[in-house]
């Protein structure tokens, strides 16, 4: 027997998902394996397709507002902010300053809620159960604040054309004060549990490394892009809502591996916490809703492209109006889809055990991919 035939291996196929818990939803990968190495990967998406764009074109502008909450249900306020901003820009509505600040506070709270889930679920994917419980506990603090203001825990339906639905309740200020005081200590605890943990570091450092050029070519945005060393954040480069007045410096890390993508999100939670503190201190007085806005607006003809920095990346919305009470064309550019598009290239040649950290560190959410 010659050495070639003695060590001859045979490729086989492994089907991951669509019901696999670590695919964070309904995502299917057909992996061709050679022993423990991935030779080929064929991703399948579309299990959660709800034709959101067509639904928007068949509904009044206001009727799509609660639907926009359901595009990305873990950070639902960003989609409604984009929808409202698009309509406001076409109708040339001036949003009151207080409404802008309220939207900013809610967006940053929502970002913390989304990143807390990432922290918990990413650690759970790697086999650590404790961070999962901690992440959900801290998420509950932000959920309380969001629920008492908006009336729902996940599908808020808080933004309106020309402002927001309601002012803050009285119970908001003591609760947010408590949250601002408690949260940094909790983040320190997160650092103590995972940052230097030998198992966690060994499984994430130098795994799934993506260079800056490749990340840009695939249209990555958000924390994933900033972990690869690209200094770009919409909140600083193209400020919207109240971000221009607050001043914000994005977190940029250099390595672009799973560990840096995880760190980028934890550090972003800290900067979000700072932003909330600044917002609550500098909250201007005044109305929360522009005057005389119809509930059923006829939007003037024109086109607009709006970008919002959601926790997963830049959420883009292209709206083409022909002067009717419904949009003529409604195109969504969701960050998770672009972030996921590199999955085949990232998985080629890695070990089977590295698939879960690589997929988990992208922090995609499947309703956002399929929409």
């Amino acid at each position: 027997m010659t050495p070639e035939t003695a060590y001859r291996t045979e490729e086989f196929q492994v089907n991951v998902g669509p019901q696999h818990p670590s695919t964070h939803g309904v995502f299917r990968m057909v992996l061709t394996m050679d022993g423990e190495r991935v030779v080929d990967c064929e991703p399948h998406i579309g299990f959660l397709h709800r034709s959101m764009e067509k639904m928007a074109e068949n509904r009044l502008y206001i009727q799509f507002l609660p639907m926009a909450d359901r595009i990305d249900y873990l950070s639902s306020i960003f989609c409604t902010v984009a929808h409202c901003e698009a309509v406001e820009q076409l109708m040339e509505i001036d949003v009151p300053a207080r409404a802008k600040y309220l939207r900013t506070i809610m967006m940053e709270l929502c970002r913390i809620a989304s990143h807390s889930i990432f922290f918990g679920v990413f650690a759970l994917d790697l086999g650590a159960v404790t961070p999962f419980l901690y992440g959900f506990r801290e998420r509950e603090l932000t959920m309380d604040l969001l629920e008492m203001t908006t009336g729902q825990r996940m599908t808020f339906n808080y933004c309106r054309f020309g402002g927001v639905a309601d002012d803050l309740p009285d119970s908001f200020f003591p609760t947010v004060e408590k949250f601002v005081k408690v949260f940094p200590a909790r983040l320190d605890d997160y650092d103590r549990i995972l940052n230097e943990n030998e198992i966690f570091v060994a499984r994430t450092k130098n795994v799934g490394t993506v260079e800056a050029s490749r990340a840009i070519n695939y249209g990555w945005t958000g924390p994933n892009l900033r972990a690869s060393g690209v200094d770009f954040d919409l909140r600083r480069n193209r400020p919207y809502e109240a971000y221009g007045e607050l001043g914000y410096e994005p977190v940029v890390l250099q390595n672009g591996d799973c560990y840096d993508r995880y760190r980028a999100r934890i550090l972003e939670m800290r900067s979000s916490h700072e932003l909330i503190k600044k917002c609550v201190e500098g909250l201007p007085e005044g109305p929360v809703q522009a005057e005389k806005i119809s509930k059923f607006p006829k939007v003037p003809a024109g086109e607009v492209y709006v970008r919002v920095a959601s926790p997963r990346g830049d959420y883009g919305l292209y709206l083409l109006s022909e002067g009717a009470d419904k949009p003529y064309r409604y195109k969504l550019r969701t960050p998770s889809f672009n972030n996921l598009s590199m999955i085949r290239e990232m998985l080629l040649g890695v070990y089977l055990a590295d698939i879960v950290p690589i997929f988990g560190s992208l922090d995609v959410i499947l309703p956002d991919v399929d929409r």
Partner: protein, 153 residues
């Protein structure tokens, strides 16, 4: 040299595992934040949007004037209204007002658009049922409630 480096890694790894254990133990000694659901319950925030209900007037009837604004704004089209005109009476008279809570998405837009304050979202959230027919709420069912809402828009 390699032996020392390996030994250093072992010591460092053990130290950080120990730091993690101390953190976990500290959290274990804290007061529990979970509640035992069927026996204990959350107190809902005043604005919480539970199921849709009709606001009763002084005589216990409804305030609906059949203007159908809620039908126009509902994104899920879960409201049906039957109305007729009578001579000598201004406006419409309501024959039937039926909400299918199985279709409702709890957005609260109908409450916002109502000019007569006839609708509200009450903090009643345990409305699951075994039969689809139980989700169809007509006027008497929409007027009846177990909890009183605290927040009025």
């Amino acid at each position: 040299m390699n032996v020392f480096r390996a030994l250093g890694r072992v010591i460092k790894g053990t130290w950080w595992l120990f730091v993690g254990m101390v953190t976990t133990t500290k959290h274990m000694l804290r007061r529990s934040i979970t509640i035992q659901y069927p026996r204990q319950r959350f107190e809902q925030w005043p604005r919480f949007r539970g199921r849709l209900a009709m606001v009763p007037d002084e005589e216990g009837g409804h305030k609906c004037t059949a203007c159908a604004q809620c039908l126009r704004i509902c994104p899920a089209a879960c409201i049906t209204l039957e109305r007729h005109k009578e001579e000598g009476v201004k406006g419409f008279l309501v024959d039937a007002y039926v909400v299918d809570l199985g279709l409702c998405i709890y957005c609260g837009l109908c409450v916002e658009v109502c000019n007569f304050g006839a609708l509200e979202m009450i903090p009643e959230y345990e409305i699951s049922a075994y039969d689809k027919a139980d989700f169809i709420y007509d006027i008497p069912k929409l007027l009846a409630r177990q909890l009183e809402p605290e927040f009025k828009r």
